[in-house]
Every structure is written in structure tokens, then in C-alpha cells.
């Protein structure tokens, strides 16, 4: 997934969430049965969808960053721990 796709998905999530919020507000100011039922079913389904879209984008973005991070340079091999006397002895 590329950053342009992220942007499109997030904008979709925002629009969907705005619709869901509109339905919730409708049920709060209008006491008709249809408003309450629509807000508590369609509204919440849309709200959940928008949050899911956001989470997908964030997780994909985090994974992309982890993959594209440069690898840490390998450490040099440890220095020999033999003493000068041992080295002289080994040389013969």
C-alpha cells in the first residue's frame, strides 16, 4: 500500500465517520423510532467501518516503515583475549 492509497483510505474513513456522526446526532435530536433505530444500527456499522479503515492504514504504515528501515551495521569481531605471553608462546 502506498502513501497515496493511505490518503485515499483515510479520507474515505473520515467521510464515512462523518456520516455515522450525523446519524448519531440525528437520533439525539429527533425522538422518532426510525432515527434511533438507524443510528444504532447503520450509524454504528459505519463508525466501526471507519475505525477499521484507520487501523488498517496505521498498521500498514507501521509495517512499511519497519521494512524500509536501514539495517544496523554489523559489529566488528571481538578482539582476541589472549595475553602477550600466550601469544609469544604460541609463536614459539
Amino acid at each position: 500500500m502506498r502513501s497515496r492509497q493511505y490518503d485515499r483510505w483515510l479520507r474515505t474513513a473520515c467521510v464515512v465517520a462523518l456520516v455515522a456522526l450525523g446519524l448519531i446526532v440525528w437520533s439525539l435530536v429527533d425522538s422518532r423510532a426510525i432515527a434511533v433505530v438507524v443510528a444504532m444500527s447503520v450509524g454504528q456499522a459505519l463508525g466501526t467501518l471507519s475505525l477499521a479503515l484507520y487501523l488498517v492504514v496505521v498498521v500498514a504504515d507501521l509495517r512499511r516503515h519497519r521494512i524500509s528501515e536501514p539495517l544496523a551495521p554489523s559489529e566488528p569481531p571481538p578482539a582476541p583475549t589472549t595475553s602477550p605471553e600466550q601469544r609469544a608462546a604460541s609463536r614459539g
Binding site: 465517520a17 462523518l18 456522526l21 437520533s27 439525539l28 434511533v36 454504528q44 471507519s50 504504515d61
Partner: protein, 235 residues
């Protein structure tokens, strides 16, 4: 003027804050950095969930209100009768009781028991479905004749308050004589011969003139419990 409860205001504030964040994001389109993700978490997660939770509580409370029932035109006469302080119907008399008040429809028609609230809400959803698909254009007079509750009204609803165990209840000779029939739902409390119909304006002249006790299954004569069937009770 619309009265808004503190919970409604709470939900509106959180919904407004979420909407503000989302609109700013849509207009400015900032890069997806850590701060943007955090703002979007508030705008798409925390604030809408808070608004939805508060809205759910308000919604559940709203579904108990008489005015919600009144939002379907087929119920306007039932609600008008409840609002009528001079009406002698069972429904109206109970609506004047503080325990029932503005929630009198729900108090009588709710299902009692452990899952009563859930069962009532599911039943309510079915009502909304039926109304918008079948009864939206049905004239009130026709609706009054064709809409019935799914099952005869059970005495258990009445017995939530009128336990049938107190001395003041058993002092009545009719109560004493029908004690087992009432408790076992074989005779309807809300019938012409007993306490009258809850919604008498939905009854035909014939039903109203026949002011006898409604026996479940057969009028005017008790039947053995094993053969009792539910029919002929209050709508």
C-alpha cells in the same frame, strides 16, 4: 423548545469534536506523521465511540418514552388516550400513575424476566420494520382494526405490581374466586367483565357490549388448564 439532557449534550460535544478533527483533516490533508495519526485516533476512534456510547444510552431511554410510540401514526390514538386525563381506560389510568408516567407504553408492554429488556428491544425493532414496510400508508381507522399484539396480554404484566398476594387484593370476592385462574393466565385481567380493556377504542361495538370475563379459549366459562389456549384477550 427541545429539552436536551446532560447525556445528550455530552454526546453532542464529543460528536462535534470528532467532526471538527475529521473536517480539518479533509481540508488540510496533512502528511501521515505521528501527530496526524494521534489526531485521527481521536477523531475516528475515541470521540465517536464516546459519542456512540452516550447516544446508545440515550437511545435506549428514548425507546421507553410514550412520544417514541407516538412517532408512528397508527399509535396516535393510543397515545392521545394515555394523555387524556378524563379517559377511564386502563392504559390512561396507568399513565396517570407516577410509576408509569411517560413510559406507560413500555412499562406494560415490556417483557419481564432476565432477558426482558433485550426481548423487548428486538420486538420493538420488528415493530419499526412492520411499520415502515406495511403500515406507513394504512389509514388510522383501518390500522385500529388490523393491528393486534402478537400474543394476548399476559396477566404476568399486571402482576408485576398487583401481586395478587396482598389482603387488599384478596378482599374482593371476584379475586378470591378466580385466584388460580388469574395466576395461571386462564382469565384476562384486562377484559370487559373485569377491569375493562386497556385500549377500548380499538374494540368493536360487539366486543364492548359483551362485557363478560374473557376466558382464554372460551368466553364465559372456565376450561381445564390443560386445554386452555390464548385467544380472545385484549389487543
Amino acid at each position: 423548545m427541545v429539552h436536551l439532557s446532560w447525556l445528550t449534550l455530552f454526546a453532542l460535544v464529543f460528536a462535534g469534536a470528532a467532526a471538527l478533527i475529521l473536517i480539518v483533516y479533509l481540508v488540510r490533508r496533512p502528511p501521515l506523521v505521528g501527530a496526524t495519526k494521534l489526531w485521527l485516533l481521536l477523531g475516528l476512534g475515541v470521540f465517536p465511540i464516546t459519542a456512540a456510547l452516550a447516544g446508545n444510552i440515550e437511545g435506549f431511554e428514548a425507546t421507553k418514552q410514550r412520544k417514541l410510540c407516538n412517532s408512528c401514526h397508527v399509535m396516535t390514538e393510543h397515545v392521545a388516550d394515555s394523555n387524556d386525563v378524563n379517559s377511564r381506560s386502563l392504559a390512561s389510568r396507568h399513565s396517570r400513575n407516577n410509576l408509569f408516567g411517560l413510559e406507560n407504553c413500555y412499562m406494560c408492554h415490556r417483557d419481564y424476566g432476565m432477558y426482558g429488556t433485550i426481548a423487548t428491544k428486538i420486538g420493538g425493532l420488528k415493530h419499526v420494520y412492520m411499520y415502515y414496510l406495511h403500515y406507513l400508508d394504512v389509514p388510522l381507522e383501518e390500522a385500529k382494526k388490523t393491528i393486534h399484539i402478537y400474543h394476548p396480554y399476559p396477566n404476568g404484566g399486571c402482576m408485576q405490581c398487583h401481586s395478587t398476594r396482598l389482603d387488599v387484593w384478596q378482599r374482593e370476592a371476584e379475586h378470591r374466586g378466580l385466584l388460580e385462574e388469574v395466576r395461571n393466565d386462564r382469565v384476562a385481567c384486562a377484559s370487559g367483565g373485569c377491569h375493562g380493556f386497556a385500549h377500548p377504542f380499538t374494540k368493536s361495538k360487539e366486543e364492548l357490549s359483551n362485557a363478560s370475563v374473557i376466558w382464554r379459549g372460551e368466553k364465559s366459562r372456565p376450561r381445564p388448564a390443560s386445554s386452555a389456549v390464548h385467544e380472545g384477550a385484549d389487543r
